[in-house]
């Protein structure tokens, strides 16, 4: 815990933790049929999901999809209209204190007392969590997020990135088992985003924490999460292991050619037929592994079809893009 976090070598998170082998494992978070209504607005609609120990669980959705409302219900900030939430095998309503002792969170912005120093903020929230660490332990915590040198500086003088790191230190000060980070990269510069990504991976791999991280950026979730959920309008659209959801066989290859009609006819008579779709503006879409693209391109060229462009997109990415652009009824996710 006290060891300073150095930039991690990023690799496929799924290579470290098998995200699919949870047989017999007790869920760390279990949400069933969660509903939250604000008057006529249904913010969360019959949402169910499961987070297992050691997961880095990505909570993905466009702005306003219901991510923050769901996270606030997990942290007892908002009372659900209906549904069940259990953490560590305990009902949240009945065992709130026991559960919150084991949870650390940064919710949306890392807002802290600006008129106090970093170490004062840390001390206050440590005591609120039921522990009373000395200055040495607090300094170790600040050292871990690279803020030891500014420990006595007022938070109002901190940059956004420094506030975010201090927010993480506050979330971790009582050594929680579960860390919930709501949009942790918001407002950060590219270096800050990379640091945050490394920190999340360290939390999982070196400290053994379970992490639930929300984002509206698929790429962010893809790089750190072992399992993920996509929600839209408060409803679950997809849930599963990241490695599975992003597997290459799900890639959609977009092909633009000089004679789209002829190319479509040719491919309809070929082995590619079952995997073909017609895209907009005469674009051809083939669902296949990217390593088969050269063979397909070669076949088209041999038939005298001029290639204009070939673009590969993961079907999950397209699906998410369709959600964020409001075309979710047009696109369908094939998994």
């Amino acid at each position: 815990m006290s060891e300073r976090i150095a930039p991690a070598e990023l690799s496929d998170p799924a290579a470290v933790i098998n995200p699919t082998n949870f047989t017999g494992m007790t869920p760390l978070i279990e949400v069933k049929n969660l509903v939250k209504r604000f008057d006529d607005l249904v913010a969360v609609d019959d949402l169910s999901f499961t987070v297992y120990p050691a997961d880095v669980y990505g909570f993905l959705g466009q702005n306003g999809a219901g991510k923050s409302t769901s996270i606030r219900m997990l942290l007892s900030l908002i009372k659900p209209t209906s549904g069940e939430i259990s953490l560590f095998g305990m009902d949240l309503q009945k065992h709130r204190f026991e559960i919150l002792r084991r949870v650390g969170a940064v919710i949306e912005r890392p807002d802290l007392y600006k008129y106090l120093s970093a170490i004062d903020n840390l001390s206050i929230f440590a005591r609120m969590s039921g522990i009373r660490p000395g200055r040495k332990q607090l300094m170790e915590q600040l050292e871990m997020v690279g803020l030891a040198e500014r420990a006595d500086g007022k938070v109002r003088t901190y940059s956004q990135g420094m506030k975010q790191r201090l927010g993480i230190a506050v979330a971790l000060v009582h050594d929680p088992d579960l860390v919930i980070l709501d949009e942790p990269t918001n407002g950060l510069d590219p270096q800050g985003i990379a640091d945050m990504r490394n920190l999340i991976l360290r939390l999982s791999r070196e400290m053994g924490k379970t992490v639930l991280v929300s984002s509206h950026l698929l790429s962010e979730i893809e790089q750190v999460a072992t399992r993920m959920i996509i929600i839209d309008k408060g409803r679950k659209m997809v849930e599963g292991g990241v490695a599975e959801l992003f597997k290459p066989s799900n890639s959609r290859i977009h092909i633009k050619v000089e004679q789209p009609g002829r190319a479509w006819q040719l491919l309809q008579q070929s082995e590619w037929k079952p995997f073909m779709e017609q895209g907009p503006d005469g674009e051809l879409i083939v669902i296949m592994s990217p390593d088969k693209v050269p063979a397909l391109a070669s076949e088209l060229v041999q038939q005298g079809v001029g290639l204009l462009s070939i673009r590969s997109a993961n079907s999950l990415e397209e699906y998410f893009l369709s959600l964020t652009s409001g075309k979710q009824h047009v696109a369908s996710f094939k998994h």
């Binding site: 606030r72 942290l75 007892s76 900030l77 908002i78 009372k79 709130r96 204190f97 026991e98 919150l100 002792r101 949870v103 969170a105 919710i107 949306e108 912005r109 807002d111 802290l112 007392y113 600006k114 008129y115 106090l116 004062d120 206050i124 929230f125 005591r127 609120m128 969590s129 039921g130 506050v170």
Partner: protein, 279 residues
């Protein structure tokens, strides 16, 4: 409870704005003392003009006790604003800063958190009153000395022996503490509904101003509602300067104010426990 209260007190007394109230009271008291020191006798001559033709007034009328009474009468109208500045900020200020959501995710019940915050507001209120008592009573007595206290009321002149005055001030400050805690409880309740502290501060002062006007206007239609307005009872401290003290209305006013505090705090806890934290 003490760890939570100590945290809340630390937060209150770490903010420069907290000391604005202490500085404001200090400045007003010093100015009044200075004015009386320089021009007090002229003020007394003017004040006693109406009764000096009927009565032969001898002795040191301008003394520390009288100056303290005048300061109390002047300041207790304005102190509610200073109380609302801090009490109205207790929950709304946290919501505005964004720290409320972090506090609620800690393993502390909302009721205990709220009680700690209210207790901290009460400590601040008492601190402000002790500061006011120190300046207005102690410093006045040091500068002007002691003497019999003569108070001009609308229908009578009350003359209190100097040996019979000091306990009345302690009782009056005790009563003022209850009255100001009522203001703190009102600002505290309004603070729960708001997401920045301006709203509860302005609302508290608006309620006090409107209620005070209704309490003081001598119009029959308002007389019926006066007993139900807490502002009517906030000036009950003056009852300690009657001779003899009319205990019944003083105690009744104190009890009504205590009931207001309990009710306002009860509603605050009820509302806060059911509130969705969206800030």
């Amino acid at each position: 409870m003490w760890p939570l209260l100590s945290i809340e007190l630390y937060k209150i007394f770490s903010r420069p704005r907290t000391y604005i109230s202490f500085a404001a009271i200090g400045a007003i008291v010093v100015l009044i003392l200075l004015a009386f020191y320089v021009d007090g006798n002229n003020y007394m001559d003017f004040g006693l003009q109406s009764i000096s033709q009927t009565f032969d007034i001898r002795g040191k009328v301008l003394n520390g006790y009288l100056v303290c009474y005048i300061i109390l009468q002047t300041l207790l109208i304005h102190v509610p604003l200073l109380i609302a500045l801090v009490a109205g900020d207790q929950v709304a200020g946290e919501a505005n800063m964004g720290t409320l959501r972090l506090l609620i995710t800690k393993p502390v019940s909302r009721t205990r958190l709220l009680l700690a915050k209210f207790a901290a507001s009460v400590v601040y209120t008492l601190g402000l009153l002790v500061w006011m008592a120190f300046l207005s009573l102690l410093v006045s007595v040091i500068i002007f000395g002691t003497g019999d206290l003569m108070i001009l009321k609308s229908e009578e002149v009350v003359l209190l022996d100097k040996a019979d005055v000091l306990w009345r001030y302690f009782a009056a400050f005790g009563f003022a503490a209850i009255a100001m805690t009522t203001v703190a409880a009102l600002a505290f309740l309004l603070s729960i509904y708001a997401e920045n502290s301006i709203g509860p501060i302005v609302s508290t002062m608006s309620v006090i101003i409107v209620f005070t006007i209704l309490s003081t206007l001598d119009i029959p239609i308002f007389n019926a509602i006066k007993p139900y307005l807490f502002t009517t009872h906030m000036i009950g401290w003056k009852g300690f300067f009657d001779s003899p003290v009319s205990w019944e209305p003083v105690v009744e006013s104190a009890l009504i104010l205590v009931l207001h505090i309990v009710a306002l705090l009860g509603v605050s806890i009820f509302v806060f426990n059911r509130k969705d934290i969206l800030s």
